[in-house]
Each structure stands twice: as C-alpha cells, then as structure tokens.
Amino acid sequence: MRALLLGALWIHLASGVLLVGAFAMLLLAGQPRVLTARRWDQRLVAWARALVVVALGSGVVWLLVRTAVFENRPQAAFEPRAIAHVMVDTWPGLVWLARHGLLIVLGAFVAIRASVDERRNWIAARGEALLLASLALALVSASSHAAAISPGTAPSVAGDVTHLLATGVWLGGLVALIPLLRAAARDEGADARPYAVIAARRFSRVALIAMLLLLGSGVTNALAQVESIPALAGTTHGRLLLAKLAMLLPILGVAIVNRTRVLPAVAAPNGMRRLAIFVGVEAGLALVLVALAAAMTLTTPARHAAPVWPLPFRLSLDELLEAPARWRALVGSQLAAAGVVGLATALLVRRGRLLVLGGAIALVAIGAGVGLPPLVVDAYPTSYRRPLLTYHAASIASGVTVYRERCAGCHDARWLTSRSISRRHAGELFWLVSRGIPERGMPGFDTRLTEAQRWDVINYIRAAGAAEASTSLGGRIEAERAWMIAPDFTVAVGPLAPGALRDYRGRRMVLVVLYTLPGSRGRLAELARMYDVLWVMGVEIIAVPTQASPEAIAELGASPPILFPVVTDGAREIVAAYGMVAPGPHAEILIDRQGYVRAIWRGEGGAVQAQVEKLNAEKSPPPFPDDHVH
C-alpha cells in the first residue's frame, strides 16, 4: 500500500514538475520561427497533454490509496461514499479537488487546437498553461508538512511553494530542453541550432537562480521540519533529506560542468549532442531527487519523530567545563579556523594553489584531531529520545520510591548527584537503566521496570541533581539568571477541576508555600493579608500542606480567611519533589513567569514582595523551559 502511494505520488509530482518546466522552457526560448524549433514546440505541447492525463490518473490512484489508508480498510478505496468523504470532509481532499480542477482546466486548454502563429496568441497560450500548471503544483504545499507548522504557517508554505516552483523550472526545463538539443544536433535540424543555443543560454541563467532558490528554500524547509542534528541523523525523514543532499552533490557537479565547460562549447562539432547527454544525466538524477522528496512527504516530519542516534559517540560541549579539554578544544578550533582561512585563500590564489589547499586541509584535519577528541562522549540509540513523562512532581515522587527499592542498594547519594550523571542526556540514562552496564555488574531493568518507571527514576535523578545545585539559591534572586526548572505539579483544590503549575506560565509568578500546622499558621496569616498586594503584583500563592490532607482547607480555619489555592490532593508528591530543594516544616519557593525557581526560603518566610519587584523589573525573560528533562 505504501509503495503504491509512493509510486503514485512520485509520478504525480514528477508530471506536475515537468508540466511547469515545459511551458517555462518554451517561454524562455521564445516563439520558434524555424521548422525544427516549431516541431519541438508542438512536441512539448503534445507531451503536456499526455502529462496532464498522467497527473490526473496518478492523482486519482493517490486519492484511492489515501482513502483506504484514511479508513484503514483496503476495500474503502472502491467505495464512492468513503472517497467522497475524504474529498469533501478533509483538508487534503479539498486541496486535491482544487488541484485536479486546475489540471482539468489545463488539460482542456492545451487540448484546444487553435492557431498560435501570432506572437501574442503564442505567449498567451504558453503563459496561461504555465500559470495553470504552476498553480496546480504550488497548491501541493497547502496540504503538505509545511502547512502543518504553527506558528509560522505562511512563511513555511511560502518556502515550500518556492521549492516546488523552482524545482519545476529547473528540472522540468532540463527535460524539456533535451529534445530541442537532440533535434538541433542532427543534420536535418541544423536550422534550429541558433535557437537552441539561445534557449540553452537563457535556461542556464534562469536555472542558476532556480538552483539558488531551491537551496535557500530547502534550508528553510529543513530548519522548520528537522530542527536538530539528531533528528537529521536519527529519523527516516532526516535520512531521506541526507540522501537528497547526497544526490544533490553529483547534480551540482554535472550542472557546473554543463555551465562552465559544455555550454560554452555548444557551437563546436558534437557540442550540441554532448550538451544533450549531460542535460539528460542531470535530469535523470533530478528525477531520483523528486522520488526522495515524494518519500519525505509520506514520512513523519523529523521534528515529530523519535530519533534513533546511529553513532556510538556524540560531541558534548559540557566537556568544555574541564580545563584540559577546554584548552585542547581552543587550540584545535584555532588550527581548524586557520585551515578554513587557507581553504578560502586557495580559491583566490592561482600560483601554488595545490600547496595552499593541501596545507589548509592538513590544518583542518589536525585541528579536528586535536580539538574534537576531548568533546567525544559515549552515545546510544536512545541518546536523543524524548522522555515519555514530563518533569512532574508525581513522576519524581514515584521515582524516589523506585530508586530506593531498586537502585539505592548500589548507588549512593554522591553518585546520584555526580557530574558524570548530571552531564548525561536523559536518553542515555534511559539506555543505561534499561540495558544495564554488564561490565560493571549493573543489570538491565527493561524487563523489571516498566518504561514509565524507568523515566520516573530519570526524572528523580534530574531532580536530585538540581537539588544539589540549588544550595546556591536563597532568598535573594539573581537578576537575569534563571536555570532551575520548577517541576510541574497538579493544583487540585477539593473536587474542583484540577489545574497545573504550568497553567501559570507566561501569566503569573507563583509562590509555592510548603506549610506545616500549627507552626506555619502565623506566616500563612501574614500571606493571607498580603495576598491582595501580591496578586496585583502578578503573584499567585499556592499552599501545599506537608501533612497531606483532603481536609486541608477546613484545617486552616476561617480566621483570617485564606483565599489562595490550597492543594488538597497530590500534596504528598509536591512535598516529595520540592522538599528536595527546600526541606523542613515550612518553606517558600518563588517561581517566575517562565517556570524557573528563582528564590527559596528554607524554614521561614521571606521578603517576597521585594524579590517580586526585582522579577517584575527584569528586562529579558528567559525562554520557557522544556517540559521534559534532557
């Protein structure tokens, strides 16, 4: 089913691209006056008629297969109701209708056998066909991966449209040029040689612009769809993109040879034939590129897929925190930078170019050899895997229990917060917890713990590391320095619909108050009096009883009235997670609007108002933290 879908999509895209290119090439070459060139013009129009039929046919096959996939029943592909449902009730179906409507109009238009001898008629006929073909091709973007990007849908779709149309002009133009060059290369087609030379030169200039647009839009598309190196190297979508880039290199090589060697010698004997062969090779490779692009549209975009890291190592900038590694990396980077300067120089100088080039390459290699090894750390297939669970108090609390039962026997508290652990990616910890370290006698827990339990342990390890580092955090905020992510938690007040700490992000600061009665009563009364002022300053107070109780609100009593949220369900998990950074019968933790812990008062309340004023005065808030540890 998937192969059929891919085949139909490839044929459909290729025919759309060839339609755009054929009419773009005709308009570039200009109205033909000589017989051979007129025959080429007629031949391309005849091809266009056939291509419209092929595009419509492959489009129908694509729709039928999509219907079967959509309904998850192969027989749905032959049920008119199911097909109509996909066409009318889904966005890709509506786009399909619009595109195929345009193709039908294009088919009718190119089927008209009217005289186009007059120049304006010829331009109108070819221009209209180009317009219709371009619209039909560009609309592919309306239901592509680019249209699913939000926010920033419009720039993404614009980039995708540019990519498609530039492909049409370049690849379609190449294929359209071949029959003209071959006809002109023959003795009986000699009358078209001047026309063919002009057409090839004009196309060469436009193809260069199209190629630059292709590269630019390709880079923006890749940034939007792939986002990271692990996604590029570790997902099917990313690897197809790498294959596309690998295929682009020989295409660019052939294009450069065409432009610099073959095209200037087109007037020489056999020059036309040689150009036709090279153009044919370039077009053949480009059609493979379209097949890879079609396959990419059928795979999950890399940024949404779980990457499987293919290498046994990765580079880690965290290693730069160690002085020896830092020095080696500095020396290596300077050598490599000198090598890059040498490479640029080699492009400019004429005398001794090979010598400069060789020296530059050697410098880059030595620089890499010196600077990179200290940054190399072990990596595993799950190194960049996104945790199954968010960084949540409930997960941390569950991790505490699992860790005590299964891990604490071998790993002491010092190991838990050691640098070698805190520098590991969460995905690497997941691999080590799941598979174990046999050479050190650590068993794998993939069959003893569920996946969720393993992520719980990793969330706990991260929280323990953060707690160790949080000793530097006190009752005074460090301006413009936010680093400690506040674990999310559920705010459940009685039977009301529960909220979450993260609901306050971007809206309010939160003062989490871990309290114990009766010791905290005085401070709670003080906070109750300050609540109005703090609320106006942008602070919500969330009180969490250390002695978790569903009757927590009633236990606080009626006087003074405490009106801020008091957690009555899930307090135990919150205390377990936040108690790691602020233990004791009473503690207060100030979380900024972005979701970072900025101040901690351990044992007693502090001058919250003054610290809130400082947070309100901060000019450049940090970005929102990721919900998952990494």
Binding site: V105, F109, V493, G494, P495, L496, I553, P561, L563
Partner: protein, 133 residues
C-alpha cells in the same frame, strides 16, 4: 476567438469566481458563525431566565449554577473558590451575597458545594440555594 482572448476570459472567470466565492460563501460563513454564537448565548440566557422564573424571580432575572469550595462564611456573604460559571464568571475565588442568612448557617470553610446564583449581572447576583457536592 483568438487564444489570447480565451486566456484573458479564463483568468477573468477565475478571478470573478474567487471573488464571488469569497463574497457569497466565505463572508457568509463567517457571518453565520457569528450569528450562531449570538443565538447560542441568547438561548443560554433564555434558559437561565426560565430557571429564575420557575424559582419565583421577577422578570429579567437569570439563574446560574456553579460548583465550588467554601473559603469564607459570613452571615450575608459567602466566599467560594468556584469553577467557571458559564455566562457569568471564569474560575476564580469570588465573594457572593447570600440571599438569606440561613444559607450560611450550615456551611463551613472547606465544604465542597453546588450553588445557585440569581440576579441580572455579576455585581448583583446572590446565592439562593446551596447543596453539598
């Protein structure tokens, strides 16, 4: 008919069809959406007025239902942390006037309750009925 005229007519037809499509369907769809929202609000308001009327209120008053937790109790005032009260208030803590002091007698801080509000605006509503949630 010359081809250039055919192309011109074709493009004009496309442009006019797009324009008419937007004017006749796109704008109408947006208007219908707005009208539907207004009708929904009106129906909800009428339903609240019907409930208020059935409870003996005078014309023009509405009745809302809410769920919440009691945070403060005074003879003529109830402070309640409540969920969203559709058509009246978002989820928050609000002090409401009690229609009668008897309503507050059986309530304590921390009690989860269902309550009915009656009035014309958020500023003049009063709690007219309370039951245990």
């Amino acid at each position: 008919m010359p081809v250039w005229q055919v192309a011109l007519v074709l493009n004009l037809v496309f442009a006019i069809a797009l324009g008419l499509g937007y004017a006749g369907w796109g704008r109408r769809a947006a208007t219908l959406d707005r009208e539907l929202d207004a009708a929904r609000v009106q129906v909800e308001r009428l339903e609240r007025e019907r409930q208020a009327c059935a409870g003996g209120a005078r014309a023009g008053k509405q009745q809302w239902g809410g769920r919440g937790v009691v945070r403060g109790v005074y003879p003529r005032l109830l402070i309640i942390t409540h969920e969203e009260i559709r058509g009246l208030l978002p989820a928050r803590t609000t002090s409401f006037r009690a229609a009668s002091p008897a309503l507050a007698e059986s309530l304590h801080v921390g009690d989860p309750i269902r309550f009915s509000l009656r009035g014309t605006l958020a500023d003049d509503v009063a709690v007219v009925a309370v039951e245990r949630w």
